[in-house]
């Protein structure tokens, strides 16, 4: 590479290089970034080169090792040009196929193609990959196209033309103005306007000045600077040279953290090449401009990312910040004016000079021009480096580019800006990413780290994690940070260990605000951000850890025996009941379940299994089929157990009355009986079971099953009085006068809600309401079903109504839901079963009018919706799309849009306090109403919920009533308990030995049988299946 002594020499070199390049010549561009190397790209590279040479193809096929492409998850990655075919996960043994099949014969190898996890589609070309499609790659434009160790590659693609333009036609002031106009802001975190910083440094008096490139990317989770330095070092060098020129003949330093050896190595090569070419050193390109760069390696201190600490480090001192003013622009390295810029900031400079400030500024927002690189990691399908225009929303990045949350889990929060940043919950996902907007919600842009968290991430634990990091990285110079970080960490650790105290959160906030206000440098000033933002948005998690010793994510070891048990609202000892099944001890299994849940057979059919979502086995392959296992054991019990269960002994004198013999009421009565109380349940209907008996269809929950469980409860000593409603004639007050020491009201939520849609006329033939429709079907009443049925709603009732309509003879059943599929509050199984049976779904469609003629339903007018901004709960509000009205012909319309508790049975003058929403007001911990001795819970208080939540409410109220009767005023605590059971089976497969054993599939009856009647659809596990499935359990509880 000869030394270039003038701009025209550079130009002719570029032209020569360009001429030499044949764009039609195949080139295999293999990613050689740190990520792909970790996956073994080096042997692949060697094999590619060997094979190409061996086959005599060296002048026909190029093999190039490029820098990081940014899509590290699937490495080793390669792109075959000019075809554009993208392969991932390439191994040595694939090399021959890559060369002979794809490069030579242009045949694609499907197994090497990228599969989009969201759609399941295979993608051939790099440009079609959703991850890349929505990005705007300016800084990363060349990362996959050049060999970072070849200055010629860089020059051929236009490299150093910006420097040429600067040196030959622009004054330093011109350059500064251009950067200002481009609205380039510091990409390292603080977002200070770069042009201004250069101007301050330029104006500072003194001839000796320094330009430092800050490559100390210390934020855990951020690796964009690494990729730029590894993949396109010359881009940074060129930016530095232009910056040095603007500032005034500055001398250059690059400070790179020691943890990036490849970046250091590639920089050294690049600098040497630039020097040899005359692009660094004295009289660059024959001008008067002299500039050279020294590399300094960091020594492992996060705080050295801070300007003044970094300067101290270069000076050979302990990396401690100092007060400002004076700012580095006036007095920095060795007291001289110093400008420090982040790698990414400098990497944008050449493009701005080449394409102009106006073009660059237009890419971003009013306040910030250009693009920003984010490292998108954590619980997201596509992890990697994402370059997008500033102002894009977080939702677009996480869901459109990132492909959403894996394993069907729910998004919880995204951490923006690493340990200096804050977490952003679902409700703010539509916020545009910009320096100012993020600050409003307590987050920061930071270096660009975006760590996505799902429902299994504990926000308190994450905060403790960040506090641990900043505490250990605190330099110790100033008291607020040195002492404050330690204190915050201590409090957070205590909370995660179940030793949180009332007042801890307030204490944390006070300390956090003090540290923020008084710390000497950016580390201290921003380390309270995660604390303050998690308290702001996830206060309930802190409270649950402190008051109830509960970790909703199931991850704080000290509070959670096993995630499944902790996720169960009623705390069933899941691992042990599964262990019993694996040992063939089915009766013991059921008895263990019944210590908390008296409805194993019912829940084994219809529970929405929050335990399975948390099952750790799910991280390996698929979660345990906990629900189906429960059903197996319970069914076995009811089919095989000889003998009647004994009634619980009555040990206490007090009698308790329960209003409503549904799952909540019966659970309360059962647990009270277990605790030795005499209990009576008053049921208005001739059958017990509440919603289970009168709503849930027979094909999901046969009546016989319900009756078995109710009989069991009665046999254990609970008295049920049927046909005995509590109403104006026989009130709650009357019950207490009758001598019941306490009353629990679990009357359910059985009033159908009307939507209030025009045309919703009572008595219209063909118009039904979900609950009463299902009740009529379940109780055997004649229900007229037309041919074309339309169901409105998206919950369990809507599913049940739709599938029942099919079984009653409807030729077509269409469900209209005003939100999207992802937001439907039904389990995947229920939805899939409905689809299998032929129910058609129309999402984002809302009814506007029920059309009728002659008092008969003839159709439903609907309008399409689109999802707008998120409401405070994080759900996006559907908004009608004007002009998109349609008419769906129908002769039957079933409204299943929600239920509400029916308080009408309580007399108007009842002392019981109601809430604004016409529900009863109860204490959330004890479920006590304002009247001493009267408690209420379940659907009746909280609106329609899942059956296990109803059962848990019954258990909670039983504990509360017991405390009340013993005059114990302490809080009710639902703690997980673990029995010590001797080792039952062969040592359970630890994670280390567990092979990929797929989850057993629950049997179902044939489709013909399904839709022709109400026979139970699921047939459950065979004994063989149950034993096999039970053995898949990892026994997480045994680690404690």
């Amino acid at each position: 590479m000869k030394t270039l002594t003038s701009p025209s020499e550079l130009l002719s070199l570029r032209e020569t290089l360009a001429r030499r390049r044949d764009p039609s010549k195949p080139c295999i561009a293999l990613c050689g970034g740190t990520g792909c190397r970790a996956f073994g790209s080096e042997p692949v590279l060697a094999a590619l080169r060997r094979e190409v040479e061996r086959a005599g193809l060296s002048d026909k096929v190029d093999v190039m090792e490029t820098g990081c492409h940014g899509f590290c998850e699937n490495g080793p990655n390669l792109v075959i040009h000019p075809l554009g075919v993208y392969y991932c996960g390439v191994a040595e043994e694939d090399v021959k196929e890559v060369i002979y099949e794809t490069v030579i014969k242009k045949n694609v190898a499907p197994r090497l193609l990228y599969t989009d996890p969201a759609s399941g589609r295979q993608v051939r070309l790099e440009e079609e990959i959703p991850f890349y499609e929505k990005q705007k790659r300016i800084v990363f434009a060349d990362n996959g196209l050049i060999d970072p160790r070849s200055i010629e590659d860089y020059i051929a693609r236009g490299g150093y033309s910006a420097l040429t333009k600067t040196l030959t036609g622009m004054s330093p002031e011109d350059v500064i103005q251009e950067i200002k106009d481009a609205k380039l802001r510091g990409r390292g975190g603080a977002g200070f306007p770069t042009g201004m910083k250069w101007e301050f440094t330029r104006k500072a008096p003194g001839r000796v000045k320094y330009l430092i490139c800050n490559g100390d990317e210390g934020d855990p989770g951020a690796f964009m600077d690494r990729s730029v330095l590894e993949g396109n070092p010359h881009l940074v060098l060129e930016g530095m040279a232009i910056a040095a020129y603007a500032i005034g003949d500055a001398q250059g330093y690059i400070y790179v953290r020691a943890e990036y050896p490849l970046a250091v190595a590639n920089l050294r090569v690049a600098i040497a090449q630039a020097r040899d070419s005359g692009l660094l050193g004295d009289n660059i390109l024959g001008t008067n401009f002299c500039f050279d760069i020294t590399i300094k390696e960091g020594a492992g201190a996060f705080v050295c990312g801070e300007e003044t600490a970094l300067i101290a480090s270069i000076e050979g001192k302990r990396g401690m910040p100092r007060p400002r003013p004076p700012f580095p622009a006036n007095s920095g390295l060795w007291g001289k004016p110093t400008c420090i810029n982040n790698v990414e900031t400098l990497a944008n400079v050449a493009t701005i000079i080449n394409r102009g400030a106006a073009w660059y500024a237009a890419l971003g927002t009013e306040a910030s021009g250009g693009t920003k690189i984010f490292s998108l990691t954590g619980k997201v399908n596509n992890t990697g480096l994402v370059e997008v225009p500033i102002g894009i929303s977080m939702r677009d990045v996480i869901f459109d580019i990132g492909g959403g949350i894996p394993k069907g889990r729910r998004f919880k929060a995204v951490q923006m800006g690493g340990p200096s940043g804050g977490c952003v919950p679902a409700r703010h996902l539509d916020m545009p990413i910009d320096y100012g907007t993020l600050q409003q919600i307590g987050a920061i842009m930071g270096s660009g780290g975006m760590v996505v968290m799902d429902e299994n991430t504990c926000m308190v634990d994450i905060t403790r994690f960040f506090a641990n990091f900043t505490q250990s990285e605190s330099c110790g110079k100033c008291s607020p940070c040195r002492i404050g970080t330690k204190q915050m960490l201590t409090i957070l650790t205590r909370i995660t260990q179940g030793q949180g105290r009332e007042g801890d959160v307030e204490r944390l906030e006070r300390i956090a605000r003090t540290v923020k206000a008084a710390a000497l440098c950016g580390l201290g000033q921003t380390c309270p951000n995660p604390v303050l933002s998690t308290i702001r948005f996830f206060r309930d998690e802190y409270d649950a850890h402190i008051r109830d010793k509960r970790c909703a994510a199931g991850s704080c070891d000290a509070l959670v025996i096993s995630a499944c048990q902790h996720a169960c609202p009623v705390g069933v000892d899941v691992p042990n009941y599964i262990a019993y099944i694996a040992a063939g001890k089915y009766t013991e299994s059921v008895e263990l379940i019944r210590e908390r849940n008296p409805f194993p057979s019912i829940c084994g059919r219809i529970c929405h299994h929050p335990c399975e979502v948390k099952c750790r086995r799910g991280e390996l392959d698929e979660p345990l089929a906990i629900r189906a296992l429960k059903r197996f054991a319970a069914d076995w019990y009811f089919n095989n157990y000889i003998g009647l269960p004994e009634p619980f002994p009555v040990r206490n004198p007090e009698r308790v009355a329960v209003v409503g013999a549904g799952p909540t009421g019966l659970s309360c009565a059962y647990h009270l009986a277990r605790m030795g109380y005499s209990t009576t349940a008053f049921e208005a209907l001739p059958v017990a079971g509440g919603m289970l008996s009168v709503a849930i269809p027979e094909y999901r929950l046969p009546n016989e099953v319900i009756q078995n469980e109710i009989k069991y409860i009665e046999n254990r000593g609970v008295e049920i009085r049927y046909n005995t409603p509590i109403n104006a004639n026989f009130t709650v007050e009357d019950l207490m006068k009758d001598g019941y020491a306490a009353v629990f009201i679990g009357a359910g939520a059985q009033r159908s809600q009307k939507i209030g849609v025009p045309g919703e006329i009572e008595g219209l033939e063909g118009l039904y309401y979900g609950l009463s429709f299902l009740r009529d079907v379940k109780t055997g009443k004649q229900v007229r079903m037309g041919e074309r049925c339309v169901v409105i709603g998206g919950g369990n009732t809507a599913m049940d109504a739709a599938r029942s309509a099919l079984r009653l003879g409807a030729k077509s059943v269409d469900v209209f839901y005003r939100r999207s599929r992802e937001e439907m509050p039904v389990s995947r199984v229920e939805f899939e079963d409905a689809v299998e049976e032929g129910v058609r779904f129309h999402f984002l469609t809302s009814p506007t009018r029920i059309v009728s003629g002659n008092w008969k339903v003839t159709g439903l007018e609907c309008i399409r919706m689109e999802l707008g901004e998120a409401d405070p709960g994080g759900r996006r509000r559907p908004v009608p799309v004007p002009g998109s009205e349609t008419l769906a012909p129908a002769d039957t319309v079933i409204m299943a849009v929600g239920q509400a508790p029916d308080l009408s049975f309580l007399p108007r003058d009842s002392r019981l306090e109601r809430t604004r929403w016409e529900t009863l007001d109860v204490d959330p911990n004890t479920l006590a109403t304002n009247v001493p001795g009267v408690f209420a819970g379940g659907d009746f208080v909280s609106g329609p919920g899942m059956v296990i939540q109803a059962i848990a409410a019954g258990y909670r109220s039983a504990l509360a009533i017991d405390k009340y009767l013993r005059k114990d005023a302490s809080r009710v605590e639902l703690r997980d308990e673990k029995k010590v059971i001797e080792s039952l089976t062969a040592a359970p497969a630890g994670e280390e030995d567990a092979g990929a054993l797929p989850r057993e599939a629950v049997g179902k009856i044939s489709m013909g049988l399904r839709t022709s009647g109400f026979t139970e659809v699921e047939t459950g596990f065979t004994e063989e299946q149950a034993l096999a499935e039970a053995k898949r359990c990892l026994r997480c509880d045994l680690e404690r």
Partner: protein, 163 residues
């Protein structure tokens, strides 16, 4: 079975040290790069090297110690031949890095910051290795291992059993 001799603590000879020092300007700004090279040679900063370095750069030994103890890269005790670094960055944490660290500690029998008695392995944690898409990550010497899971740990470590 071969007799297990007590491993010698590695160090740096005075000649080698002088040669290293000769390559740097004799002032404070050389301190960190010089220490980095000393550690590159023998795996840590031996006590007697501190005095030579201090003298050569015109510093007090206390100043040199101040720098050594501030930066986590520097060690004052000999380390194992194979350095295992487990990443404790955010992305690795969210994907189960804590468990990986626990299992490695069990496998090696040492805690974070310690060295096995036979000087085969040293274990340390790093704040972030910048390979976040591969989380959880561990590095042994200069080799990166991504997407770690409990099964892979034994396999990775056994590659270094005889080094």
């Amino acid at each position: 079975m071969p007799v297990q001799t007590a491993p010698e603590a590695p160090g740096i000879s005075q000649d080698a040290l002088r040669e290293l020092i000769a390559g740097f300007p004799r002032d404070q700004s050389s301190l960190i790069p010089l220490l980095q090279q000393v550690q590159e040679q023998c795996g840590y900063i031996p006590r007697d090297a501190v005095d030579s370095v201090a003298g050569a750069l015109g510093l007090f030994p206390s100043q040199v110690f101040g720098v050594i103890t501030f930066y986590s890269q520097f060690y004052t005790a000999p380390r194992g031949r194979n350095v295992v670094r487990v990443c404790r960055g955010t992305a690795c944490h969210v994907r189960g890095g804590k468990k990986i660290l626990q299992l490695i500690q069990n496998e090696l029998g040492i805690q974070d910051g310690e060295t096995t008695p036979d000087f085969r392995f040293s274990l340390e944690t790093v704040a972030c290795l910048g390979a976040c898409a591969l989380s959880p990550v561990m590095v042994v010497n200069h080799s990166y291992y991504g997407k770690m899971n409990p099964k892979k740990i034994a396999a990775v470590l056994s590659q270094y059993a005889s080094r």
